[in-house]
């Protein structure tokens, strides 16, 4: 409906809808501006609430979804454990060390998946023409897409990744210093920002090639799989491209080396182990640039 309305009218309809809920619910915080008009937050909050309600409609499906996702995250870790059944070391790392890398990678990805993972659906929006409607609303297009389908089940993945990381940390005996404690918090966040940048940059491909959404999976989900193992496992130009070109070595591998106090088997300078936040910020900058270029390039499919 909204996509056929002229922008000004759509804006008015939108505003009215948001005013109604913010009054009815009396949401605390800055839902409304000082003169009583709905703030930007109210819009996002409403989108999220609608999502939560819609997902709870189909109980059986929702329960299975939550359960399946819980086990799915465990399986990423189980895969690493299974590989160690047939070999004592992998790329020069023992099982607990590999688990630490895997745990860091999983937590980074889970945090990213929870916050921006939904950008994946953008190709559907573009193909069906629903992206036009997104652009007419007076909210940021990127944030709307991100809020469009908040998957509650993804919260379970974060919890589980934290548990795996805690178990791994218990097994490897880290010599704790304040710097390492800070790194433990900063590394997953940097990793999430890096993954998020790849997700956003990857989704813009759909602006140019409407049917090619799966292309981005090579780098998003591929990145997740890449980071779950020590970088020493890979070789040649492939390692260079993924580890350094796309920066995936900085998600889990280098932070893990810093936590373990282990020198880089690839003979990189020690500073690399601590540089994840810088790499993440640079990646976010590049992604923002690509997104802006993409959105300017957007042409409706007309369907």
């Amino acid at each position: 409906m909204a996509e056929r309305l002229p922008t000004s009218l759509a804006r008015r309809v939108w505003r009215r809808a948001t005013t109604r809920t913010s009054r009815a619910r009396r949401v605390p915080g800055r839902a409304t501006t000082r003169d009583g008009r709905p703030g930007v937050l109210a819009g996002y909050r409403q989108l999220l609430a609608a999502q939560v309600r819609s997902q709870l409609q189909y109980r059986a499906s929702f329960t299975m979804d939550v359960f399946g996702n819980l086990v799915l995250t465990l399986m990423d870790v189980a895969a690493v454990v299974v590989l160690f059944r047939v070999t004592p070391v992998l790329g020069g790392f023992s099982l607990p060390e590999a688990l630490l890398i895997s745990g860091l990678a999983n937590l980074s990805f889970a945090l990213c998946d929870l916050s921006v993972g939904n950008i994946d659906t953008m190709r559907l929006y573009i193909r069906t023409g629903r992206f036009d409607a997104v652009l007419t609303r007076p909210l940021s297009a990127l944030l709307q897409l991100v809020c469009g389908d908040l998957a509650l089940r993804r919260l379970g993945r974060v919890v589980q990744a934290v548990v795996v990381l805690a178990v791994a940390l218990n097994l490897v005996h880290v010599h704790w210093t304040p710097a390492r404690a800070v790194l433990l918090v900063v590394a997953p966040l940097s990793g999430a920002v890096l993954f998020g940048s790849v997700f956003v940059a990857g989704s813009t491909v759909a602006f140019w090639f409407v049917e090619s959404g799966e292309f981005a999976n090579a780098f998003t989900y591929g990145g997740r799989d890449f980071t779950a193992y020590p970088v020493t496992v890979y070789a040649g130009w492939f390692r260079k491209a993924f580890a350094y070109g796309l920066g995936f070595a900085f998600v889990a591998y280098y932070p893990a080396l810093a936590l373990l106090g282990k020198p880089d088997p690839l003979n990189g300078p020690r500073l690399l182990s601590w540089s994840s936040p810088v790499v993440a910020l640079a990646a976010a900058g590049v992604a923002a640039l690509i997104w802006r270029t993409g959105i300017r390039h957007y042409r409706s499919t007309g369907s």
């Binding site: 189909y58 070999t87 090619s212 090579a218």
Partner: protein
């Protein structure tokens, strides 16, 4: 038979129009091929050249053939039918004078044919160019592999169709679909050859679940792991699963039609 052929051709042609998607899919499978191949080679190297009965080149073939095969058997599933149930479009499928299971199977075989000529070829060629792949020693392995792939497609179709049929009861199949992804990703042999698991777990998976029959069986036949008798057993396991799943599809389809509530709108 003429109808089935026409439906299969239509399935083939439908997928041949998604050119960008085919290229993107083949690209993604190839990237994952590199990822998995390096991990498996590292495992084989650290384990002293042989891991769970696979030598290095066999693992290379395992990974790359697998990357091609996953599109042919459509390992990540599809929800076309479930979507049609939710929107009510399924009524037009039910009005046709062909059993829906048969017509969807025919279309799926056409789709698999298209995937075999495109998505299967790309990772296989890249793998052969970049790594040392194992080629079967016995000439008979090639035709048996083709037969095994065909049975795998039918078995996989049966399982996917059953997942979609739950839409008649649940309308929203997201949950069932997640469970399907869980089984198909980990238990089919995609993430690691099931031989890496303890013996009892392998037994449970091969006999108790259809997943290995849809994926690992054809690959094990091609890389010639185990004795000839062992590989013959894999094919028997596949045939049993394909027959069982198709039978279940027909049965559940009949029950589902009685449950149908066409959604308005």
């Amino acid at each position: 038979m003429g109808t089935a052929w026409a439906l299969a051709v239509a399935g083939f042609r439908r997928y041949s129009t998604y050119r960008q998607a085919t290229v993107a899919g083949a690209f993604t499978n190839t990237v994952f091929g590199f990822l998995r191949c390096y991990v498996m080679l590292a495992v084989a190297a650290a384990a002293g050249g042989t891991a769970a009965g696979y030598r290095g080149p066999q693992l290379v073939t395992y990974v790359w053939i697998g990357q091609g095969l996953l599109a042919v058997v459509q390992i990540w599933g599809w929800t076309d039918l479930a979507d049609r149930v939710r929107t009510g479009d399924v009524q037009s499928d039910l009005l046709r004078p062909v059993n829906p299971v048969a017509s969807y199977l025919a279309a799926d075989l056409g789709r698999a044919g298209h995937a075999a000529l495109t998505r299967f070829v790309v990772p296989t060629v890249v793998g052969a160019l970049c790594f040392g792949m194992y080629a079967p020693h016995a000439l008979a392995s090639y035709p048996v592999f083709l037969l095994s792939v065909l049975v795998a497609v039918v078995a996989s179709f049966g399982a996917r169709y059953l997942v979609n049929l739950t839409a008649f009861w649940l309308l929203d199949v997201r949950g069932v679909f997640t469970l399907w992804l869980l089984g198909t990703g980990v238990l089919s042999g995609l993430y690691f050859p099931l031989a890496f698991l303890p013996g009892w777990a392998q037994g449970v998976l091969w006999v108790g679940t259809p997943f290995p029959a849809t994926f690992q069986a054809p690959i094990d036949i091609l890389v010639e792991r185990g004795s000839v008798g062992h590989r013959a057993l894999l094919l028997v396991d596949q045939l049993c699963w394909a027959a069982l799943l198709l039978g279940l599809c027909l049965l559940v389809q009949r029950r589902a039609e009685r449950r149908l509530v066409v959604q308005g709108g």
